[in-house]
C-alpha cells in the first residue's frame, strides 16, 4: 500500500484542490483578485479545531462550523471591500489577511504564536476525497447556474453586467462568501490532519501559493485548478526541492505564465480574450474618453 509519506502528499493535494478551486471561484470566475485566501483557511482551521477541542463536536460538525465561520468572515469582509475595484480589492484582502494573522498571533484562545496543539487526527483520505468531491460538485453546479453566469458577466465587464440588471456587489459578496466557506473547509481538514496549527502556517506566502495554483491551471477553469493544485503540491514534494527554491519557483511561475500563457495551462477556451488578453489599459482608457463609455 501507500506509505504514510505518500498519503500525506495525497491529502495535501486534496486540501489544496479545495483551496485552489475556491480561490478560482473568486479570482478566476468573478474576476476579483484576492491575495488573502489563506486568511479564510486559517479562520476555518482555528474555528474547527477549537470546537473539536473545547466543545467536543463530532468531526463533520466541526468541519461545517469552520467553513461557516470562514464564510461568515468572507461576507463580513466582502460587504465593505467589494465595492472597491481591482487593485484596491487585492490590497484590502491582503490587509485583511495580515490582520487575521496578527489577531491569531495575539489571542489567548488560539494559543498565540505557539499555536494550537493536540488537535485529534481525524482527517483521513476518505474524508478528503469526499470533501473534494463535494467542493467540486457544488462549485460546478453554482457555476452552471444563473449565479455562475452572473459571476462570469462581472468578470467580463462589470459595468455592462450592472447595466444588464446584475446586482454586481451582491454577486461579488456571494462569490466571496462561497469561496471563503470552502477555504474554511480546507482549513478544517488541514488542522485535523496535521494536529498542530500556528499563525505562521497561513501567511501571505500561503495565499500566493494558492494563487499560483489557480494561475498555473488557468483562471476561470475549475479543472485547471485541480491540476494546478496537484502539480504544485506533488512535484516539489517528489523532487524534494527545498522550500526556498519552491517559493522562487512560484514567483517565476506567476511572471512567466502572465507573459507567455496568461490563460493558464488549461484555460484556452474558458477565459475570454477581453479578460486577460484584451486591449491595453492605455487603449481602453482612450476609448472610454472618446466615446464616453
Amino acid at each position: 500500500m501507500i506509505s504514510a509519506y505518500h498519503l500525506q502528499i495525497i491529502i495535501l493535494v486534496g486540501i489544496n484542490i479545495i483551496m485552489a478551486t475556491s480561490l478560482n471561484l473568486i479570482t478566476g470566475f468573478t474576476g476579483q483578485l484576492s491575495i488573502g485566501h489563506a486568511a479564510f483557511m486559517s479562520i476555518g482551521a482555528y474555528a474547527s479545531a477549537l470546537v473539536t477541542l473545547k466543545l467536543g463536536f463530532p468531526f463533520i460538525a466541526s468541519l461545517l462550523c469552520g467553513a461557516l465561520v470562514a464564510g461568515f468572515f468572507g461576507i463580513l469582509i466582502g460587504v465593505p471591500t467589494l465595492k472597491l475595484k481591482g487593485d484596491y480589492l487585492a490590497i484590502a484582502t491582503l490587509g485583511f489577511g495580515e490582520i487575521v494573522r496578527i489577531v491569531f498571533l495575539n489571542l489567548e484562545i488560539t494559543g498565540g504564536a505557539v499555536g494550537l496543539r493536540g488537535i485529534p487526527k481525524i482527517t483521513t483520505l476518505l474524508w478528503v476525497v469526499i470533501a473534494v468531491l463535494v467542493t467540486l460538485f457544488t462549485l460546478n453546479r453554482i457555476l452552471k447556474s444563473r449565479v455562475g453566469r452572473a459571476f462570469i458577466a462581472i468578470r467580463e465587464d462589470e459595468t455592462a453586467a450592472e447595466s444588464m440588471g446584475i446586482n454586481t456587489t451582491y454577486y461579488k459578496i456571494v462569490s466571496f462568501g462561497v469561496g471563503a466557506f470552502f477555504a474554511g473547509l480546507g482549513g478544517g481538514l488541514f488542522s485535523h490532519y496535521f494536529q498542530y496549527i500556528h499563525p505562521g502556517s497561513f501567511g501571505f506566502l500561503r495565499s500566493i501559493e494558492h494563487l499560483c495554483m489557480v494561475v498555473l491551471g488557468g483562471l476561470g477553469n475549475l479543472w485547471g485548478s485541480v491540476i494546478g493544485a496537484a502539480a504544485l503540491t506533488a512535484i516539489p514534494e517528489l523532487l524534494r526541492a527545498s522550500a526556498d527554491y519552491r517559493q522562487l519557483f512560484y514567483g517565476a511561475i506567476l511572471v512567466i505564465m502572465m507573459r507567455v500563457r496568461p490563460q493558464g495551462l488549461l484555460g484556452e477556451t474558458s477565459v475570454s480574450r477581453s479578460f486577460l488578453q484584451g486591449e491595453s489599459i492605455l487603449k481602453r482608457m482612450n476609448i472610454n474618453k472618446k466615446s464616453g463609455l
Partner: protein, 290 residues
C-alpha cells in the same frame, strides 16, 4: 512622552514616505501596484550594508551607490515583468508584479540566507537631549536626508523637463506621446527614481534598526503602499503626508493602544481609508463614466 512618540513616529514615517513615493509615482504613470517595490527597498539595504561592512565604503558613498544600483534593479524589473504586459489587463499585470516580488525575495533568501545581518551604525551614537525630547544622531540624519530627498523630488517633478514629461504622461499618455514625449523613457525614469528613493529608505532603516534581512521588504513595502493610498495614490505630496501620518499613527498605536497590534494599525487604516475615502487625503477622485 507624547512629543517623544511624535518624533519617533516622524522618523519612521519619513521612511514610509520615501517608500510610498515609489509606489505612487509608478501608479500615477502606469496604474500598476509595483509589488516588487518592497524588495527593491530590501535590495538597497543589502547593498548599503555590504558596501559599508565588507568594502569599508564611507556611509554616504555607499548610500548613493545603493540608490543607483536599486534604480537599475527597478528598471530591470519593469523591463522583464511589467513592460511585456503593458497590453494585457490589470489583473495579469498585478499577478506578474506579485510574482516578481516573491521571486526577488526568495532570490535574496537563497543568496544571503535567512539569518539577519547587522548593519553597523556609521555614526557615533550621539544623542541630543532637550527637556522634552531626546533624538539620536541617526534619527536626525534620517529626518534630514528624507527631507532633502523629498525636496529634490519635488524640484524634479515641478521644475525639470523630465518632471513635466512625467506629469504629462500621468495625466494622459496618448496626448503626451503626441506632444513628442517618449513614454517608455518616462516610465523607465519613473521606475529608476522611485526605486532609488525606496533604496534610500532601505539603507536608512538599516542603520536605524541595525538589521538587514531578505524578508525585511515585505512589511515596510505593504506599509509604504498603505501610506500611498492614505495620501491618495498617484499624488506625490499625498505620499509624503501619508507616510508621515502612518508612521505617527503606528508609533502612537503601539504606545497608547497595544504594541502587539502594531502592524495591524496600518492595515486597519488601509481598510478604513478604502471604505470612506478611496481617493485618499489629497488624491484626485476617480470616476467611472458609463
Amino acid at each position: 512622552m507624547f512629543l517623544q512618540q511624535l518624533i519617533n513616529g516622524l522618523v519612521l514615517g519619513s521612511t514610509y514616505a520615501l517608500i510610498a513615493l515609489g509606489y505612487t509615482m509608478v501608479y500615477g504613470i502606469i496604474e500598476l501596484i509595483n509589488f516588487a517595490h518592497g524588495e527593491i527597498y530590501m535590495f538597497g539595504a543589502f547593498v548599503g550594508m555590504i558596501l559599508v561592512t565588507v568594502y569599508q565604503f564611507p556611509f554616504f558613498l555607499a548610500f548613493f551607490i545603493a540608490m543607483a544600483l536599486a534604480s537599475l534593479l527597478g528598471i530591470t524589473v519593469e523591463f522583464l515583468a511589467y513592460r511585456p504586459l503593458r497590453r494585457s489587463t490589470r489583473l495579469a499585470a498585478l499577478i506578474s508584479a506579485i510574482g516578481a516580488s516573491i521571486f526577488l525575495q526568495n532570490l535574496a533568501l537563497l543568496i544571503m540566507g535567512a539569518r539577519p545581518y547587522t548593519f553597523p551604525s556609521p555614526f557615533a551614537p550621539m544623542v541630543y537631549k532637550t527637556s522634552l525630547v531626546t533624538i539620536s544622531r541617526v534619527e536626525l540624519i534620517i529626518l534630514i536626508v528624507s527631507f532633502l530627498l523629498m525636496l529634490g523630488l519635488t524640484f524634479l517633478i515641478q521644475k525639470t523637463k523630465i518632471g513635466i514629461a512625467m506629469r504629462a504622461t500621468a495625466q494622459d499618455k496618448d496626448t503626451a506621446s503626441l506632444m513628442g514625449i517618449n513614454i517608455n523613457k518616462v516610465i523607465t525614469i519613473t521606475f529608476a527614481v522611485g526605486s532609488a528613493l525606496g533604496a534610500a529608505a532601505g539603507v536608512m532603516v538599516g542603520i536605524y534598526f541595525r538589521t538587514v534581512t531578505p524578508m525585511m521588504g515585505l512589511m515596510p513595502g505593504l506599509k509604504g503602499f498603505v501610506a500611498a493610498v492614505l495620501g491618495g495614490i498617484g499624488s506625490i505630496p499625498g505620499a509624503m503626508l501619508g507616510g508621515l501620518l502612518l508612521g505617527v499613527a503606528e508609533v502612537m498605536g503601539a504606545a497608547y493602544i497595544s504594541s502587539q497590534y502594531r502592524d495591524a494599525v496600518a492595515f486597519a487604516i488601509l481598510i478604513i481609508v478604502l471604505l470612506f475615502k478611496p481617493s485618499g487625503l489629497i488624491g484626485k477622485s476617480l470616476q467611472v463614466k458609463v
